[in-house]
């Protein structure tokens, strides 16, 4: 399997030579089309990982390679979604979703001439996440869960090869969260996109991912790597199987001891 993301022995320090060391000796590899989850105690540098992969931060030492190229500047083949949906309130949901196309180099010059084609694509995405017909609504007319669905559409509109999710479901209630797990599961299955999910929720990681990386406390590095054995497509019922609970339990134990070690 070829690797889409490969992080090799990376150090990242904030704020000059004696600033905080956020990650140290961080290495991980994510294969093309894979669904990877990153879990760990809080402050373990999960957000730093996001920024390293997307090229928002360049590490002081080590190498970050995405799609065969060393990352030295923002890479536009990545889509991002955060816990805060950050929809722009003066744009309709559809216009919010089209926003990345106004930025990304290979789309921005085509957007005006091919608007209809792009709008169709956005509407198709809205339909996939269960927001059909909501494109003309403003984001503040949508509920939190609906905004997060729209946020996923925005992250996917420019057909990124890699989707980086930073606790996208953290602020939602349990039922909405499970619904969105299924949405993201289906998106991954249908679009073949590679996904890296950073999360605190171990059940979420176990339900969605092919592989789970457990990170240490700051300075963060990968302590352990788990392959999730459950067959796809997974139904929510899998969460009530013994194997699933054992895995969550094991992850929980590892993170608890990483916290103590810190």
């Amino acid at each position: 399997m070829s690797h889409l993301v490969s992080i090799d022995n990376v150090d990242m320090r904030y704020g000059g030579a004696d600033g905080t060391l956020a990650v140290s000796g961080l290495s991980l590899k994510v294969g093309k089309g894979e669904f990877a989850a990153v879990v760990g105690p809080s402050g373990c540098g999960k957000s730093t990982l996001m920024k390293l992969v997307t090229g928002l931060h360049i590490p002081q030492s080590g190498a970050v390679v995405v799609a065969g190229k060393q990352v030295t500047q923002p890479v536009s083949i990545v889509g991002m979604a955060f816990q805060n949906p950050t929809m722009l309130p003066w744009r309709t949901t559809l216009d919010n979703i089209l926003l990345p196309l106004e930025i990304v180099e290979r789309h921005r010059h085509r957007l005006r001439a091919h608007r209809r084609e792009y709008v169709e694509k956005a509407e198709h995405l809205l339909e996939t996440v269960g927001l059909k017909g909501f494109g003309s609504k403003y984001p503040w007319q949508l509920s939190g869960g609906m905004q997060q669905r729209a946020n996923l559409c925005r992250a996917l509109i420019h057909e990124p090869e890699l989707l980086m999710l930073d606790e996208p479901f953290g602020a939602l209630d349990a039922f909405t969260r499970e619904e969105l797990w299924c949405v993201i599961r289906d998106l991954h299955a249908a679009q073949g996109v590679t996904i890296v999910l950073v999360t605190h929720d171990l059940r979420e990681a176990t339900f969605l991912a092919d592989r789970i990386f457990v990170m240490s406390a700051r300075p963060g590095k990968v302590l352990k790597e788990h392959v999730v054995p459950f067959a796809r497509p997974r139904e929510l019922d899998v969460m009530y199987e013994k194997g699933f609970n054992d895995m969550v339990h094991e992850l929980h134990g590892e993170i608890a001891s990483a916290r103590v070690a810190a």
Partner: protein, 273 residues
């Protein structure tokens, strides 16, 4: 209590009584204004104050009718100097606000200067403006501009400085340049701050122009009031104040209307963050 229940019963029946059909909230501004003038009139009658100290509203309205032509002309002059100074402040304030919000270095450099400049009472600048431009329209326009400029700059810069870091990250990861973020996010986002500041700025602009007209002008409400005062024509002074209040309310209402029209999204929303 029984009257109230009776009212309720009647209103549910067929025809609401007059008292229930009145929209009190809509009527309140008018009622309160009338009440203010009535209380004022009453106070003057009870205390028997001389018209050279506190003229009754009836005297003031009499003066408005009597001196209608000079009041009208001077009001137009003051409105002209105020709106011109305000218009310059809007353009310059928006431009400088975007500049200050654009770069941290420019912000750090200009901010103490602007605070210091804003701390200077603008009336102290009028004599200098008179040396440069002579008495009349230009010092009034410039004073209105100088006094109303600051809140616009600060508000626009605040709007730009408070962009959510996540929004910036999402766009920068896609390869957005600083200019893209300014155009797509920064400027639209600072518009509610900008339009909000216009209401403050227009009120201040009146202060500036009237101060300047009072000190150094041959026209305008400020000049009219100061010459009326020197002739002990106190009802005319109050008539001038009334004209200023009317102009102020009208311009404020205009700004509030523009604000609602331009940035409705910021008011209707229960923005979640």
């Amino acid at each position: 209590m029984s009257a109230m229940t009776e009212n309720a019963a009647v209103s549910t029946a067929s025809q609401k009584p007059l008292i229930a059909r009145v929209n009190w909230v809509k009527l309140a501004p008018w009622l309160y204004t009338i009440a203010l003038f009535a209380a004022w009139e009453l106070l003057v009658i009870v205390l028997q104050t001389s018209p050279t100290v506190l003229p009754a509203p009836s005297r003031v309205f009499g003066a408005v009718a009597q001196y209608w032509s000079p009041i009208w002309k001077n009001s137009l002059q003051t409105l002209y100097t105020t709106t011109l100074g305000f218009a310059i402040a809007v353009v310059a304030g928006l431009a400088l606000g975007i500049l200050v919000g654009w770069s941290k270095a420019i912000y750090a450099g200009l901010y103490p200067l602007m605070v210091g400049f804003n701390a200077i009472p603008k009336v102290a600048l009028v004599p200098i403006l008179v040396i440069w431009y002579g008495i009349g329209t230009i010092p009034a326009v410039l004073t209105a501009f100088l006094i109303s400029f600051f809140p616009i700059v600060v508000n626009v810069a605040t709007g730009l400085a408070t962009i959510e870091p996540e929004t910036e990250d999402v766009l920068r990861a896609l390869g957005a340049k600083k200019m893209d973020i300014l155009l797509k996010v920064g400027i639209p986002r600072s518009m509610p701050y900008f339009f909000g500041s216009l209401k403050i700025a227009i009120t201040l602009a009146f202060v500036g122009s009237v101060v300047s007209e009072t000190v150094a002008a041959n026209y305008g409400l400020g000049n009219m009031m100061s010459s009326a005062q020197s002739q002990f024509n106190v009802p005319l002074v109050f008539a001038g104040l009334l004209a200023l209040a009317v102009e102020g309310i009208a311009m404020y209402a205009l700004m509030a209307w523009i604000e609602r029209r331009m940035t409705g999204w910021a008011h209707r929303s229960s923005m979640s963050h």
